[in-house]
């Protein structure tokens, strides 16, 4: 049974991007209610806390709690809000849809969040490749200024706010919040030493909150329909609200789907409202549940697998950016791991020794195995390299993300790696067949 969409309610409607259709659908009423209805910033933060909203950018940190980390006394410094629209996690394409199809939903959430933070300037840091999205967003911002939802003294409330769109230049690491901050300051995009955390010292040395696009969209609905309504959606109060799932891979109907938090993985893959089963009727071999950084799950593990923060943490993986990548039985797992390792090797910012040196090393060893030049000790070597890179010894969690696909694929498909090393070819997939014929 498919529930009523919240975040995607307006997606697909004609001219869903335009402010007149948004206003006709009751848009910006929530902003008016909050700004002119006697709400205090603290009350807004409290409402968001009560809703149980957890960040949709990857880490799942409770949004209201994060806002509470901004010091009461900012020592005369402004507070900044940054909307993280860098969306570069492989397999993830939900923020793009939200921005391109319903930009005002996000803007309203952004202004509401800014009000809660007493923030007068916010930025949208948008992935450089999202050229269309940036244009749609800019048009929406211009419209919002025209109608008085942005700028000086919004709706006569005394609250003023400006939003600026900043386009990235093509680096995955600029999605990490401190890398994003450096990049926004015009510097090389590389994560910062923490502490201090951005809520205390962020962009331009001032307290800063970074929130994901989908998170900000959720804020609009929390305030529109109340924290209690939001908290009731989902599997439990710790995993609440509507959620977008990015389904890709060997399924019949890949795409972005909305469902209450905690949708069963099997439902997403096979449900009529969602993926409609595996392409060509093949079997599931492995699923990456939360973007490239999340540990792979086996076909067995996706039984009773609620897609939410705690459900996937229980399976030692993570919801991450909710990018569900499905691989069928013909997928060579070494090939898949090599592909992911290549991505991480390409995207490491290069400041930390273990990540700078470890990511290309992993990729090289994996490529060697994939090319049929693996050695008996290579699989163990991969595990050892990974363990030397992980466990939080680096400046950001990128290194831990980079090893997740390697360690999980070896842990769960060790025999396939072994076969690869011993027989110098894939166990399954097109390359296995070709090799078998020519061998």
């Amino acid at each position: 049974m498919k529930s009523e969409p919240v975040l995607l309610a307006r997606v697909g409607r004609e001219r869903s991007q335009a402010i007149d259709t948004y206003l006709a659908d009751g848009g910006y009423e929530t902003l008016r209610k909050v700004l002119t209805g006697g709400w205090t910033p603290e009350a807004v933060t409290e409402e968001v806390k009560k809703s149980g909203l957890r960040g949709r950018g990857g880490a799942g940190f409770p949004t209201g709690v994060k806002w509470g980390f901004v010091p009461k006394d900012t020592k005369g410094k402004p507070v900044y809000l940054l909307c993280n629209a860098d969306e570069s996690e492989p397999g993830t394409f939900k923020d793009r849809l939200l921005m391109e199809e319903d930009p005002h939903q996000m803007l309203e959430g952004q202004i509401l969040s800014a009000f809660a933070l007493r923030c007068h300037t916010s930025y949208v840091y948008i992935r450089g490749e999202f050229f269309h999205g940036a244009r749609v967003l800019q048009r929406a911002i211009d419209e919002a200024y025209e109608k008085g939802f942005l700028g000086e003294n919004i709706l006569g409330s005394g609250f003023s706010h400006d939003v600026t769109v900043h386009r990235g230049a093509g680096a995955y690491i600029c999605g990490e919040e401190t890398g994003l901050i450096e990049s926004l300051e015009g510097k090389r995009g590389q994560p910062r030493v923490k502490p201090p955390f951005p809520a205390v010292v962020g962009v331009f040395g001032a307290p800063t909150i970074v929130n994901n696009v989908e998170t900000l969209c959720c804020v609009t609905h929390v305030l529109k329909r109340g924290a209690d309504w939001f908290a009731k959606i989902g599997r439990n109060e710790k995993n609440s609200g509507p959620k977008l799932y990015c389904l890709s891979g060997h399924v019949n109907r890949p795409g972005v789907y909305e469902a209450p938090m905690g949708l069963q993985m099997k439902e997403l893959l096979f449900g009529d409202d969602y993926g409609r089963g595996m392409k060509d009727g093949r079997k599931v071999k492995a699923v990456i549940p939360g973007g490239a950084s999340a540990a792979m799950l086996t076909a067995g593990e996706i039984e009773d697998c609620p897609l939410d923060f705690d459900g996937l943490a229980a399976k030692k993986s993570m919801l991450g950016s909710a990018a569900i990548i499905v691989m069928n039985e013909d997928t060579c797992i070494v090939d898949a791991a090599t592909n992911l390792a290549k991505f991480f090797s390409h995207e490491s910012c290069g400041q930390c020794t273990p990540c700078r040196e470890g990511t290309p090393w992993l990729h090289r060893v994996l490529s060697r195995i994939e090319a049929g030049e693996g050695r008996a000790e290579d699989v163990e070597l991969l595990e050892k390299i990974s363990n030397q890179m992980g466990n939080g010894i680096t400046l950001c969690v990128f290194a831990d993300a980079a090893i997740a696909p390697v360690l999980s694929s070896i842990g769960k498909f060790r025999d396939e790696y072994r076969y690869h090393v011993e027989n110098k070819r894939c166990l399954v997939g097109p390359r296995a067949a070709v090799e078998a014929v020519t061998a």
């Binding site: 030493v193 390409h346 490491s348 020794t353 040196e357």
Partner: protein, 556 residues
């Protein structure tokens, strides 16, 4: 039931400490606030291996070498970025720490050429040292090593040569240019395993302190054109000295082998030059090897003849004596130098006093104005001679009714005899007109190491020592008296200026042949205002502000 115990008296608030207690491997140690764990460990005598941390550069936590365990925190932590707190218990010797260090060393070495025998950094390389101290013997890396074709053996500025294949991406050089020099020429290019350091848009690394980027580079990725491949560093002897380049008086190490100076390196003095040197001063090192005046010479009519030093000195003394008889002592002019030590300038002034002559001076040379960053502030130099203040303090200004250098150079006064204590450095020395004015004297005597118009014009030339070949003290622009030591002896018959001056003094009936610079300093202490507290120990410790303001120079 027993009676309730009387309420315990409120515990007095613990006395406020201005130090913090950190426990390293079970041993508590008091450390001052404001330092980080690497520095604190050093105070405890414990080395935490590191690459990217530098005491004067921002803390970036990039190399991940300084990992330690901290009680109460499950994850291993980078010592350089861990906020320091009272009572922190740090473990630096656990298995986890040892394994993490070895792992990090493995990562650092997989793409490193490991050709130390042909790398100029060998012997003073942090990578070599840490690999030896904390690495494993073997690597499991069996792939092709990374190379930066086109980025090796390439000059990136007038002094610095880059070998990017050796770079360990610690960003010290980048941070030096950004944070100390303030010029920001260097940056990371590309990312991940392809990250390298280069200049922005290929513009040269050409700030006034550019070679410091090579100093802070822990490996052989940045070296200086001037020193590269000239000597293995373990062959070099270090002697504490003071830069002769200007009156900031940066503390240097003169590094020599077999009496040849190969380089100057900065010697830490937080109050003066901290960890730095300017390129101009640093690369004066080679100039110390010049030796053009290697014998004493005496002019007889149109002939210039070699002489032994005592005979040449006696010739000067006899000229002075006869001039005193015919024209009185006020026909003689003594020119000291901002390049000579306090001791030497003092001796020169005492000789003038002894014969009753008030005509004395030093060259004022403001042709070089340099800047240097101490730990806390920028120091502005305003004189090209390292000891301008000292020369003045020692009394090298015209006495009452006496004449000075401008009187001679502007033709207002022609002395009978001119004694130039240091002809090698005098700015006027190669200016034909000025030399002509000095040569207007009946008799011109100079001491020098290098030849110029002045030495060629002189009647007596005495062979003098270089900075490396003598001991003494300079007083810098701050009023800080600093000691320089002798690295090696001057080649006979050349002698230190102070020895030549003592010979002259004795020939004129003043002074003692056996005095040393230390003995002269005793007299300076007694006679010169403001120098009474400059003890030998304090000089050895890094310099004393005259007038007794002591500034500690303990290593950081």
């Amino acid at each position: 039931m027993s009676a309730p115990a009387p309420p315990a008296p409120a515990a007095p608030p613990p006395p406020k400490k201005d130090t913090l207690t950190i426990v390293f491997d079970g041993k508590p140690i008091e450390v001052p606030p404001g330092i980080n764990l690497i520095e604190a460990a050093k105070l405890a005598g414990i080395e935490i291996p590191h690459f990217c941390f530098h005491p004067r550069l921002s803390v970036v936590g990039q190399c991940r070498m300084c990992l330690v365990e901290i009680e109460g925190i499950p994850k291993i932590q980078a010592a350089c970025t861990t906020p320091i707190k009272d009572g922190l218990a740090v473990k630096t010797t656990t298995q986890k720490v040892r394994e993490s260090r070895a792992a990090n060393m493995e990562f650092l070495l997989i793409n490193h050429p490991l050709d130390c025998p042909i790398c100029d950094q060998a012997g003073e390389c942090k990578l070599q040292d840490n690999a030896f101290g904390y690495g494993e013997q073997r690597s499991r890396y069996d792939e092709r090593k990374r190379q930066y074709a086109g980025y090796d053996r390439t000059a990136i500025g007038p002094h610095v040569v880059a070998d990017m294949t050796r770079c360990i991406q610690c960003t010290r050089c980048i941070r030096f240019c950004q944070e100390i020099a303030g010029t920001g020429e260097l940056t990371f290019l590309d990312r991940g395993g392809r990250t390298l350091v280069w200049t922005h848009d290929g513009k040269p690394l050409a700030n006034d302190w550019s070679a410091c980027a090579a100093d802070v580079c822990p490996v052989g990725a940045l070296t200086t054109k001037e020193f590269r491949f000239r000597r293995r560093v373990w062959d070099l002897k270090k002697t504490p000295s003071v830069c002769p380049g200007c009156n900031i008086g940066c503390n240097i190490s003169i590094e020599d082998r077999d009496s040849v100076v190969y380089r100057f390196l900065p010697r830490l003095n937080p109050a003066v030059n901290d960890y730095w040197l300017c390129d101009y001063g640093r690369f004066l090192s080679e100039s110390l090897n010049a030796r053009e005046i290697s014998k004493a010479t005496v002019r007889e009519g149109s002939d210039v003849r070699d002489a032994i030093v005592p005979a040449a000195v006696e010739r000067i003394a006899s000229e002075i004596r006869s001039t005193i008889e015919t024209d009185g002592p006020s026909a003689i002019f003594f020119l000291g130098s901002a390049h000579l030590s306090n001791e030497e300038n003092f001796l020169l002034r005492k000789i003038a006093d002894h014969i009753g002559c008030g005509n004395r001076d030093v060259v004022v040379d403001r042709s070089r104005v340099r800047r240097m960053k101490s730990k806390t502030e920028w120091i502005e130099g305003d004189h090209a001679g390292a000891n301008y203040a000292g020369a003045r303090d020692m009394g090298l200004s015209p006495g009452p009714g006496g004449h000075g250098l401008t009187d001679v150079l502007e033709g207002r006064w022609i002395p009978q005899i001119v004694v130039v204590a240091d002809a090698s450095f005098a700015a006027a020395a190669d200016d034909a007109e000025k030399v002509g004015r000095l040569r207007g004297a009946r008799f011109l005597a100079v001491a020098a190491r290098t030849a110029n118009s002045l030495t060629r014009a002189a009647d007596v030339v005495l062979p003098a020592a270089s900075l490396a070949q003598k001991e003494g003290s300079f007083t810098n622009v701050q009023g800080r008296v600093q000691w320089f030591q002798r690295a090696f002896l001057p080649p006979p018959p050349a002698r230190a200026h102070w020895e030549l001056l003592l010979l002259l003094g004795v020939a004129l009936g003043w002074g003692d042949r056996n005095w040393t610079p230390a003995a002269v300093r005793t007299q300076i202490r007694e006679e010169v205002e403001g120098y009474d507290e400059v003890t030998e120990q304090e000089l050895a410790g890094g310099g004393l502000m005259k007038k007794g303001l002591f500034v500690s120079t303990g290593a950081v």
